[in-house]
């Protein structure tokens, strides 16, 4: 089996980002620390678990972005992916879910993947779209918010459960190849093993220039980036911690939620 896992590098804290205005978007500062999007960690772990069930499975980890994303692709190799792919865009620019997916689809189209996995959403742009667009662009079924999957390799059938509102679950029967977007909590992402860390160190990444993989449609653009309206915020209780504690207790007391004094 051949599995592609699409991973995104995200910043650990948006407070370290610099806001640009032309075009409006954010870019990292020297203080910005990057890591793998948590939802993609679950997708990668799920691929690794499938690989353990079906020996001989190839697991390719792919990321789109500037050269900084290579550290996250390496992290995927350290966790156990067999091959790393960097689809390179040198600029820090805003990509919609469709834009990202069209670059990935340009690469994945003729590679014969049986499964394409990715996290249900990214923590930074929060679109919740890339997997669905990949399915549409590659003309493959896509199931989102996946919380379990059971593969019968002989006939390529997969029974997939997706998590919907209030924890309810919908089940589907699909045939590979298929795109699955993975919900958090489906597994416990592992820590890299020493042997994989050593292996990853000597492994080369495959690099493709994104511009050679088809051009995104850029059907939407960011008009502005800003902080949420502070006016919507409630009352910040002031003082040192003891004063805050007293103030809070007296508010709870006044509202008859707690009897105090």
């Amino acid at each position: 089996m051949k599995i592609l896992v699409c991973i995104k590098q995200v910043c650990d804290s948006s407070e370290t980002l610099v806001h640009d205005t032309d075009p409006p978007w954010v870019r990292p500062s020297p203080a910005t620390v990057f890591r793998m999007n948590r939802f993609d960690e679950f997708a990668l772990e799920e691929a690794l678990l499938i690989g353990e069930r079906f020996p001989g499975t190839e697991i390719h980890a792919l990321s789109v972005g500037p050269s900084r994303v290579c550290t996250t692709i390496r992290k995927a190799l350290e966790m156990g992916a067999s091959h790393g792919i960097h689809l390179c865009i040198e600029k820090e620019l805003y990509l919609s879910g469709e834009d990202t997916a069209s670059i990935i689809a340009g690469y994945a189209r003729d590679k014969g993947y049986d499964l394409i996995l990715t996290g249900i959403m990214s923590e930074d742009t929060m679109h919740c779209q890339v997997g669905q667009y990949l399915g549409a662009l590659l003309v493959l079924p896509c199931i989102t918010s996946v919380i379990s999957e059971e593969i019968s390799p002989d006939d390529a059938r997969v029974v997939v459960e997706r998590e919907i509102e209030s924890g309810r679950r919908q089940a589907f029967l699909v045939k590979m190849p298929v795109v699955l977007t993975i919900q958090s909590g489906i597994n416990r992402p592992r820590y890299p093993s020493l042997s994989n860390v050593l292996r990853a160190r000597s492994q080369d990444l495959e690099t493709c220039e994104a511009e050679h993989l088809g051009s995104p449609a850029f059907r939407q653009k960011i008009a502005a980036i800003r902080y949420p309206d502070a006016g919507k915020k409630g009352t910040f209780i002031q003082g040192d911690s003891r004063q805050k504690a007293r103030e809070l207790l007296s508010i709870l007391h006044e509202k008859s939620l707690l009897s105090w004094r």
Binding site: G97, E98, D124, T125, M126, C128, Q129, Q132, Y133, A136, L137, P141, C142, T144, S145, V159, E163, I164, E165, S166, G167, R168, R169, Q170, A171, F172, L173, V174, K175, Q183, S184, G185, R188, R219, Q220, K221, I222, A223, A224, I225, R226, P228, K232, K233, G234, T235, F236, I237, S241, R242, A245, R246, L248, L249, I251, K255, L257, L258, W260, R261
Partner: protein
């Protein structure tokens, strides 16, 4: 030219979902108080008729024997039978940002060669406002000209509507779509129920900010101050295995509206706040002054939980003077 707004309605167990009614308010904010509503299902004629009566909107019911169970494949095919011939007049096709909406919207947008903007919270002229970076920042997104497919965040608009003067028109479109590449196998209820969350007057919830599982004892201690209290959790805390999923509050967990909700170390991503923002009083304790949870809180306390909760307990037990 009169531009249409089309709303894709949802229903569950014979009831129109609240998110669908919120989309009417969204449409009104876009300048179209009576959008067209599309419902999909199998033999739900009275539900569709009732919706046209209640809202005064034209309702198109796409009726098909396989449409009783959702699948992206079926619903997309069925919708395209109705939507494709009318692209030019359509300004916007709006879903709720639900498991159905976010699942279907991108593929539909792709088929219509339209942009897709998800989890929209507000409208600014011809642009749409949505949260990014866990709610710490907002982006204003402008789609290209032509139709746009949107998912609108549940709770961002009001589900209330004044009764219309006259009922909307209802039409039925029969479709004969059948599953090909994605065969629905049915639905089942959550495995996680009954954690006392619904009966509780007070819910004290833990987020990733509690740092480690052992610190849950502080959260329990705080909850124990209140007689009818229960423990809640963000999804992240359940994913880490610190609490069971039956305590999870939010989109894929439970929706609660207690008298008092205390969010401890919860960052406040929409997936969580959609499940608790209707609590009567919300108190958030977080060491990050910019945490998104503060924007849905009535009272905000910027403190480190691990030091603040013990001080709070002490002040409670030994009040001054």
């Amino acid at each position: 030219m009169n531009r249409n707004i089309i709303i894709i309605g949802e229903h569950h167990e014979g009831t129109i979902s609240p998110g669908t009614l919120e989309l009417l308010d969204f449409s009104r904010a876009l300048g179209s108080p009576f959008p067209e509503i599309i419902l999909l299902g199998s033999d739900i004629f009275s539900l569709a008729e009732n919706l046209a009566e209640r809202t005064g909107c034209a309702v198109t019911l796409i009726n098909g024997e396989h449409l009783n169970l959702y699948s992206a494949e079926l619903y997309q095919k069925a919708l395209l039978e109705v939507l494709r011939p009318r692209d030019e007049r359509t300004l916007c096709i709006a879903f709720s940002h639900t498991s159905l909406g976010f699942d279907l919207a991108p593929a539909l947008a792709h088929a219509l060669q339209a942009p897709c903007i998800s989890s929209v919270e507000d409208i600014e002229e011809s642009s749409f406002v949505r949260s990014i970076f866990g709610g710490k920042l907002q982006s204003v997104v402008t789609p290209q000209n032509g139709p746009v497919v949107l998912t609108v965040l549940p709770g961002a608009f009001s589900p209330d509507r004044t009764p219309p003067e006259k009922s909307g028109h209802m039409r039925i479109v029969d479709v004969s779509v059948a599953p090909v590449s994605m065969i629905p196998q049915g639905e089942r209820a959550s495995e996680y129920r009954d954690s006392g969350l619904h009966d509780a007057d007070v819910i004290v919830s833990a987020g990733r900010g509690i740092g480690k599982k052992e610190n849950l004892s502080l959260i329990s201690a705080l909850a124990s101050l209140f007689p009818r209290s229960a423990l809640g959790a963000s999804r992240a805390v359940c994913d880490l295995g610190w609490m069971e999923y039956r305590h999870q509050i939010g989109t894929t967990g439970q929706t609660v509206s207690p008298k008092l909700y205390i969010a401890c170390g919860i960052s406040g991503a929409i997936q969580h706040t959609s499940g608790m923002k209707n609590a009567q009083t919300i108190i958030a304790i977080n060491s990050d002054p910019n945490a998104a949870i503060f924007s849905v809180s009535h009272y905000a306390i910027v403190e480190d939980l691990l030091s603040f909760i013990p001080v709070l307990m002490e002040e409670y037990t030994h009040p001054p003077g």
